[in-house]
């Protein structure tokens, strides 16, 4: 049983910039954890620390019972697939795949046998004698993936391996990585700035911002129960609409009131929110429904229309409050139209206006 444990890892750069703050995570055997966050959030730093390419300021990294902290990369037995420049340009695909094995002194005939077997599963057996410059970006990443597998590592780290590929190739390789994950059962850490990739691949997803963990959750939970306003607005395309406002009670009637939207609360919502005066209401774009007065709770002027294959995404504005909504693909509306919306109350989240944490 090997699990990859990261305990209270922090990274301070000279000058006092903290790239990572007190990061802890445990990746079980056979688990794929995706780390997602905006650029500069510290996700690549974390990966480099685990691989041994950078030194942590404090904290520990453990592989099973073996402490990795302080070991050079070559003694960690962790494979990394990088975003680009992953192959030596003067070596053929096969030689690139053999690179690590040669360093470890694997015999030539054994090497060739293993390379051929892995190349076959990755669908690159026809490319083995080509140079990196002669194959496509996706094929190059397959070769890099093959090299990582041949290393027979204790854990895999992926540093945005798909982000320089075109959409088609990205999907294909995503499937490839999933298959690999199922077959090998090694802990895997996948770093990406693409939330779709994180949701599609991760058994669990870590949302990272400014070096701090915002939330660790299963993909569904991340979407439906974001831990705070950052996760709410970061996850989802477009993210959750956030309306800062307050609660008003009039006898038995409780309402959420903001400059743009006002709607009644259910009794259970009202009782939980009772102690908070200032809250932020979070509503997913698809939880706003087209409606007509007097049911309408929110009006918005259309400022942009984005047609997608299965739906239409509308960007709206109400008194300087910008929000988004999703409607049917064939909706007919024009820029400048004023549309009325009602709120699907069950799916509304509430956050503490001061801390940004989820209340309900």
């Amino acid at each position: 049983m090997t699990r990859l444990t990261i305990e209270n890892v922090s990274k301070l750069y000279p000058g006092g910039v903290a790239a990572l703050k007190d990061f802890s995570l445990e990746i079980e055997e056979g688990e794929l954890v995706a780390i997602v966050g905006p650029s500069g959030c510290g996700k690549s730093t974390l990966l480099r620390i685990i691989a041994g390419l950078e030194e942590e300021t404090s904290g520990k990294v453990r592989m099973g019972e073996r402490f990795l902290t302080g070991l050079p990369p070559k003694e960690r037995n962790i494979a990394v697939v990088f975003q680009s420049y992953t192959l030596m340009p003067h070596l053929t695909a096969a030689e690139n795949m053999a690179f690590g094995m040669r360093l470890r002194g694997t015999f030539r005939n054994q090497r060739e046998e293993k390379i051929r077997a892995i190349a076959k599963t990755l669908g690159i057996e026809g490319l083995l004698n080509r140079y990196p410059a002669e194959i496509s970006g996706g094929e190059r990443q397959r070769v890099a993936l093959g090299r990582a597998i041949l290393r027979e590592p204790d854990a895999f780290l992926f540093d945005e391996p798909l982000s320089s590929l075109d959409a088609q190739m990205r999907l294909q390789l995503r499937v490839e990585i999933q298959k690999l994950h199922q077959r090998l059962g090694t802990p895997m850490l996948f770093v990406t700035h693409d939330q779709n990739e994180a949701l599609a691949l991760g058994d669990r997803v870590v949302v990272l911002n400014q070096g701090k963990i915002q939330q660790i959750a299963k993909p569904d939970e991340l979407y439906l129960k974001p831990a705070n306003t950052f996760v709410a607005s970061f996850i989802g395309a477009p993210g959750m609409n956030l309306f800062p406002g307050r609660l008003e009670s009039n006898g038995n009637v409780h309402r959420f009131v903001s400059s743009s939207v006002t709607f009644p609360l259910t009794p259970s919502q009202a009782s939980t929110l009772r102690t908070y005066s200032e809250v932020v209401a979070g509503i997913r774009p698809e939880h706003l429904n087209l409606s007509h007065p007097p049911d309408a709770e929110l009006r918005g002027t259309v400022t942009a229309i984005e047609k997608q294959f299965d739906q239409t995404c509308l960007y709206l504005e109400n008194e300087n409050v910008v929000f988004t909504a999703k409607a049917a693909r064939n909706i007919s509306c024009h820029l400048g139209d004023v549309l009325q919306w009602s709120v699907a109350l069950d799916n509304t989240a509430f956050f503490d206006a001061i801390t940004g944490e989820l209340i309900l």
């Binding site: 041994g52 390419l53 050079p72 990369p73 962790i78 990088f82 992953t86 690179f99 360093l103």
Partner: protein, 276 residues
């Protein structure tokens, strides 16, 4: 009209280049041909080509009647080869470290290296002589080789070369199980053109070096070939010019050969640097 103008301009360019080519090539042709001539023929304007290819000067040179030419040739070859190997290895290693690592006093050391480029060799000659004397290396090949192994220009050149090498490639090698030394070695094939270009320049400079060997070497059989040829010219030996020029011709062979073998890499190294 346009077509013919283009034709004329390309024709005139070819003519100009041909003219320059003659100017540059003439001394070499003259040198080569004079190796077969008597003194009177050497200074006659016409004919350029010798009447008959008489090898008497070459025989005189190689027999060691005037100077131990074969011995000096080997001395030069030994000195230039070792100096080139050491200078390339040191410059390349130092350039790698300065391009890819941060460490204390990096800036100070860098400034010192730049200063080394700026100090002329003539200024260093005397201190080097004293130093070699203390090391008891005077009049040995090492007294010429060692001072040449520290190349400030090479150091700056290899910093530029290694800066162009992407860091993820080095990280990949580390993660695949290479130690730091191995990582460095695995980058060398990637900069092969730069290595060859630098080695070529270093070899040519070293082969032609006059000042340092002149100061360090004294025994006749320890001299380099350039010193030997110079001594032929300076003495009152009434050495035939043909013999001197035959010596010059032979002396050119190693550098010319090296250049012919390496010029492809040399060009691509220059091209890759100008790209940046």
């Amino acid at each position: 009209m346009n077509h013919s103008r283009k034709h004329i301009s390309s024709l005139s360019a070819t003519a100009a280049l041909a003219f320059l080519c003659v100017i540059f090539a003439y001394p070499f042709v003259w040198m080569f041909c004079s190796g077969f001539k008597t003194d009177a023929e050497v200074f006659a304007l016409f004919p350029l080509l010798p009447q008959h290819f008489d090898l008497v000067h070459y025989r005189g040179l190689l027999s060691g009647a005037w100077i131990p030419y074969p011995r000096l040739f080997l001395n030069s070859l030994f000195i230039a080869s070792l100096e080139t190997i050491f200078a390339t290895a040191f410059a390349c290693g130092a350039g790698y470290v300065f391009a890819k690592f941060d460490f204390r006093f990096k800036k100070t050391l860098f400034i010192l290296a730049v200063a080394a480029v700026l100090v002329p060799r003539q200024a260093l000659a005397l201190p080097l002589f004293v130093w070699m004397n203390k090391l008891s290396l005077l009049d040995t090949p090492w007294s010429v080789i060692l001072p040449g192994t520290a190349s400030g220009v090479g150091f700056l050149y290899f910093i530029a070369v290694f800066r162009r090498l992407p860091d993820p490639l080095l990280d990949m090698a580390r993660c695949e199980g290479a130690g730091e030394y191995r990582v460095f070695l695995s980058t060398l094939p990637l900069i092969k053109p730069a290595l060859i270009a630098f080695a070529l320049i270093q070899f040519v400079l070293c082969w032609q070096e006059h000042l340092i060997p002149l100061i360090m070497l004294s025994t006749q059989t320890h001299l380099t070939v350039t010193l030997g040829l110079a001594s032929l010219n300076a003495g009152n030996l009434r050495v035939p010019y043909g013999l001197l020029l035959a010596g010059c011709t032979l002396t050119l062979i190693p550098t010319a050969l090296f250049f012919v073998l390496a010029h492809r890499h040399f060009r691509s190294a220059l091209a890759s640097l100008t790209e940046a």
